[in-house]
């Protein structure tokens, strides 16, 4: 037995058969119920949790029909809608399908009622008040008419009002003046009536995206091993590939749904860099993805159905490489990126994309190779010489330099002293004033933040800055745009052994705050 807090009181919200026999009812005060039945076993009802579990449970039903929705008009959980258009024959008819679905749930210990009707409203009504019925289209109006008005998914006050007026069954509402009904009981009554009768279409929002193309396999007995799953995926990928090939389509995303016996669905998704329908490639992507699962895989009591669905479809005709075209291997490359990404994660395999800005760390964006965006034509290409490597976080150096704009003469970095023989610069890079309000919250934040707080926070400049400082900490300490502290002067310096570094100075000599020197990159 469950209770929940309704309007400040602890009231019963759900009972089992034993409790109703003892004379308790839903909505009763918990203390009253305790007085009636002293050895009552009650638990608090966690509605969110139930709704969550129920939606998982709903997902699992997508093994019966692709369109599964939770009807939350009356309660956040409890009502499951399946669109069985074109599905029933797989179960041997509507009656058999209904029997299969409800009995398999009963076998698991749930109490279920089901009905099949042409509209969502009518199906709800019959499932709640005449369970087990399958209402053909022509009988819908008559059969619905015999049901009580409760069956229309109305609120308690609407039902009470209708009963007061002597309108007890749905049939009594037929042919009444709609305007009067609407004025008295609200627009929802007319809406629900129309929905139940099919005069107004009621949309069902499916819980899972509907895949136009999928392949699935059911198992006589549940399977558990990951290897078995992957072997099945290989077979399904072949089926799916043939289906896609028949329509000259390719897909970029693939979703694998594993339906567990205990009503959970596991999903695995992989993306491809370019549309494909090659079964071995698809299967390989899932094999790689599964190696990244690291114990997330839990077959529970077994998996009894596997579905492989294709998404992001695009026309991919079979092409013949022309006699004069050169096969540049771009496809092989895309597949390599797919494989690497599926195993290592999308952020691990990146390319450098130039961005239109002068701030060095922002001028190149590392972009996943599988999610390639078009290049920015205004990105700067004709820049002064840039280093081959950049440190993700510039490191402070201790520098002896000519005041005010001379390059460093000596510097200490990572506790090693360098004597600078050659230098060029400065190249002055200013903060971008148009980012004034947000500039420090962006990529530059750790850099500039470090730069500004370093003199106080790191009295020993050779000490490496703490890399994992939270961003927010910098942002809060930063001030508004100030040219004196955000301007950077970059120098290319070469020491006596020929090592070349890219160092910069933040701030100016003679300003209110002493400037700080940082090492940002290495040249060849």
């Amino acid at each position: 037995m469950l209770w929940e807090r309704i309007k400040g009181g602890m009231r019963l919200s759900a009972l089992d058969a034993l409790a109703s026999k003892a004379g308790l009812s839903v909505g009763q005060n918990l203390s009253d119920a305790r007085a009636l039945v002293p050895d009552l076993l009650v638990f608090e009802h966690d509605a969110d949790f139930t709704a969550h579990v129920f939606s998982d449970f709903a997902d699992w039903h997508s093994n019966a029909s692709p369109v599964v929705a939770v009807d939350d008009t009356m309660a956040p959980y409890g009502d499951l809608i399946l669109d069985i258009t074109g599905v029933a024959h797989l179960f041997g008819g509507e009656d058999k399908m209904l029997a299969t679905l409800t009995s398999r749930l009963r076998a698991l210990g749930y109490s279920t009622h089901g009905a099949i009707a042409d509209t969502v409203g009518a199906a709800w009504a019959f499932a709640h008040f005449e369970p087990g019925r399958i209402v053909p289209e022509d009988e819908l109006e008559a059969s619905l008419g015999d049901l009580p008005v409760h069956a229309l998914r109305l609120t308690e006050t609407q039902v009470a009002g209708l009963n007061q007026m002597g309108l007890k069954s749905v049939g009594q509402l037929y042919g009444r003046d709609r305007k009067a009904l609407q004025a008295r009981f609200g627009a929802s009554l007319v809406l629900r009536l129309d929905q139940a009768l099919g005069a107004i279409e009621e949309r069902v929002t499916p819980r899972l995206p509907i895949a136009e193309h999928h392949a699935e396999r059911r198992f006589a007995g549940p399977i558990g091993y990951l290897d078995d799953v992957l072997m099945t995926v290989r077979d399904l990928a072949i089926q799916l590939g043939i289906r896609l090939g028949a329509e000259a389509l390719g897909a970029q995303s693939f979703h694998l749904f594993l339906y567990r016996v205990d009503h959970k669905v596991m999903t695995l998704s992989v993306n491809a860099a370019r549309a494909t329908r090659d079964p071995s490639h698809i299967a390989q992507l899932f094999v790689n993805r599964s190696e990244r699962l690291e114990g997330e895989y839990d077959a529970g009591f077994g998996i009894d159905m596997i579905r492989l669905a294709a998404g992001s479809l695009s026309p991919t005709p079979d092409v013949q490489v022309g006699a004069f075209e050169i096969d540049d291997g771009a496809e092989d490359l895309a597949r390599l990126y797919d494989r690497m990404t599926s195993r290592l994660g999308p952020l691990a395999v990146v390319r450098s994309k130039p961005v239109d800005t002068h701030i060095p760390e922002r001028a190149v964006k590392l972009e996943p190779v599988v999610a390639r965006t078009p290049d920015d034509p205004s990105a700067l290409v004709d820049l002064p010489v840039r280093p081959l490597r950049l440190l993700p976080n510039p490191e402070p150096v201790e520098v002896i330099a000519e005041v005010p704009h001379g390059p460093p003469l000596r510097m200490v970095w990572r506790r090693v002293s360098y004597r600078v023989l050659k230098a060029s610069g400065p190249e002055r890079i200013e903060a971008e004033w148009w980012r004034t309000s947000q500039k420090l919250g962006l990529l530059t934040a750790p850099t500039v933040g470090e730069a500004e707080i370093a003199p106080q926070d790191h009295p020993d400049p050779t000490k490496k800055p703490v890399k994992s400082e939270p961003l927010a900490q910098h942002v809060s300490k930063l001030e508004e745009f100030d040219p004196e502290i955000t301007v950077r002067d970059y120098y290319v310096v070469e020491d006596d052994a020929g090592r070349r570094f890219w160092v910069f100075r933040v701030g100016l000599y003679g300003a209110s705050r002493p400037p700080g020197w940082y090492l940002h990159g290495f040249f060849a």
Partner: protein, 281 residues
């Protein structure tokens, strides 16, 4: 008993087939062709044929830029119409220590920022997996692995495996390593690279000029010429990277006056940085 030469070649091919590696005729030919001078021979090696495992050693982490520049110079010559990508693999934890490759800097090495795909990988087994996958791809020109540490996972067996894979696929692999120690490895070539004091700019002697590398070849196993180089005195070379690739620099004559040597004339030199203020602000 002396066999005629064609038989020897055939035998060599058979052995190569047994060992699952290409005959490496290119490498051998390359060496025999350039026997005139040792220096030229070394310079020719800088355009080594594809399908080899190279090791590039730098002494310290702070020379990581030098090592990467030299490697890009080697790997860039392998790019072609059918092989348009370079893959760079790094352990993600080592990014701050040795720095991340910076796309805008590749231009000086004749590469677009796009050419080099960077893999930042969490663990050594995954890195090795990615390395083998990338080598097997026929559209990859070269795979560059940058390792700041000395992981146990990379032992002789693994390097032999990489070497065979590289030979089979015709994709070169470059292992950038740091430190003075040398572990046993099946690499065909081992380079030791150090930065050199550059010649300065033609108009500004006090500005850093073209990248200069002091290279030494420590190991060479190319077909029948294996080990030949060890007997020669000269296996050091100083090269500049110019727009025409590596150019040998003769510092023996005037080691202390590199400035007299004019920089390559046609190269568009990076402008002095100060006059770009209007653009930079």
């Amino acid at each position: 008993m002396s066999r005629p030469k064609p038989d020897l070649e055939a035998l060599r091919a058979q052995i190569a087939a047994l060992e699952k590696r290409p005959v490496l005729a290119d490498g051998a030919a390359l060496l025999t062709k350039q026997k005139q001078g040792d220096e030229d021979e070394l310079l020719g090696l800088l355009k080594a044929p594809p399908g080899l495992l190279h090791e590039i050693f730098a002494d310290e982490h702070r020379q990581s830029g030098t090592a990467l520049g030299f490697t890009l110079g080697l790997a860039g010559s392998l790019l072609g119409q059918n092989r348009q990508a370079l893959i760079y693999l790094q352990l993600s934890a080592e990014g701050q220590e040795i720095g991340l490759p910076y796309g805008l800097g590749f231009q000086n090495f004749g590469l677009t920022p796009d050419t080099l795909v960077i893999g930042r990988i969490g663990t050594m087994p995954e890195l090795l997996w990615a390395l083998e996958e990338a080598i097997a791809c026929r559209a990859v020109a070269a795979v560059i692995v940058d390792l700041a540490s000395h992981p146990k996972a990379l032992d002789f067996t693994v390097s032999r495996r990489i070497s065979l894979r590289a030979a089979a696929a015709g994709t070169s692999a470059f292992l950038i390593r740091y430190g003075k120690g040398r572990e046993a490895s099946a690499a065909r070539l081992r380079w030791h690279v150090k930065p050199g004091v550059s010649a300065g700019q033609p108009f500004d002697a006090s500005a850093p000029g073209n990248p200069r590398f002091a290279i030494e070849i420590e190991k060479l196993r190319l077909g029948q010429e294996s080990g030949q180089l060890r007997q020669t005195e000269q296996h050091h070379l100083i090269v500049d990277w110019t727009e025409n690739g590596f150019v040998s620099v003769d510092t023996k004559k005037r080691p202390l006056a590199p400035l007299r040597r004019p920089a390559p004339p046609s190269r568009p030199q990076p402008a002095a940085l100060g006059d770009r203020l209007s653009e930079a602000s």
